[in-house]
Symmetry: C2
Subunit: 112 residues, 2 copies
DNA sequence: AATAGTACCTTGTATAACAAGGTACTATGT
DNA sequence: ACATAGTACCTTGTTATACAAGGTACTATT
């Protein structure tokens, strides 16, 4: 029997995708960090993402003025590009947190 | 000064998008319903969607075997296409609900 | 000098959301 | 009887984006 792709797999992926930007801002807000580490954090939170998704997204957030970055040397490899939130980024995160709360409330209502 | 598009608008839209399919299954699970009514329900839950998004999505879910439909007459207009969940749809919804819970837990952890 | 590990980034393809436009049935007003 | 408004369906074309795959480059280890 040929392995059948579960149709919920893509739906689950969709669900996670939508909140990616929010999670990235959340992670960066805790402490300055760099792309490879963000990938690990997202994996820990069961939000699987690949490089080809993350890098363009970070660029977009930076272009939108939400992120800033600075290069720093590393003891164990090439230099790292550390990201931090700008003031606009902090404000955006606050708004998104609000949107998230509303969303959770809406869905909780729908479930019941 | 030209009005500037808030960068969080698109991010918020993204966030909502991801969970659209989940919400649609949730809404249909409560009682059989049709597209125009689903649109209203989503608006009530602050999940703005347009027809061009909903119709292809319903078709996809149906093609995936999660939805079934039947035409029924209406007293106040053209016939309506009522959707219901198939057994596969019910199972998918159960899985998505689980995924949703995990997601909420992950993000709650990130926020703290 | 070669290999492994870490870290960055880009390109091409497929999917999907949205805006806009289109069809058709029913009820209502004149 | 005809036009208009309301409801409900659906499609097409454009744009955005997620992912897979591949590529560059620095450091440490053997």
């Amino acid at each position: 029997m040929a392995p059948k792709e579960s149709s919920t797999n893509t739906t689950k992926a969709q669900m996670r995708k939508g909140i990616l930007e929010f999670c990235i801002l959340l992670i960066i807000s805790r402490d300055r960090t760099y792309a490879s580490e963000i990938l690990l954090e997202l994996k820990k939170a069961d939000l699987l993402v690949v490089e080809g998704t993350l890098y363009p997204l970070l660029s977009r957030l930076r272009a939108a003025g939400l992120l800033d970055h600075s290069w720093e040397e590393s003891k164990s490899g090439p230099p790292r590009k550390y990201y931090t939130l700008t003031n606009a980024g902090k404000q955006a995160l606050a708004e998104l947190t609000e949107t998230w709360s509303t969303l959770v409330a809406s869905i909780t209502t729908l479930i019941k």
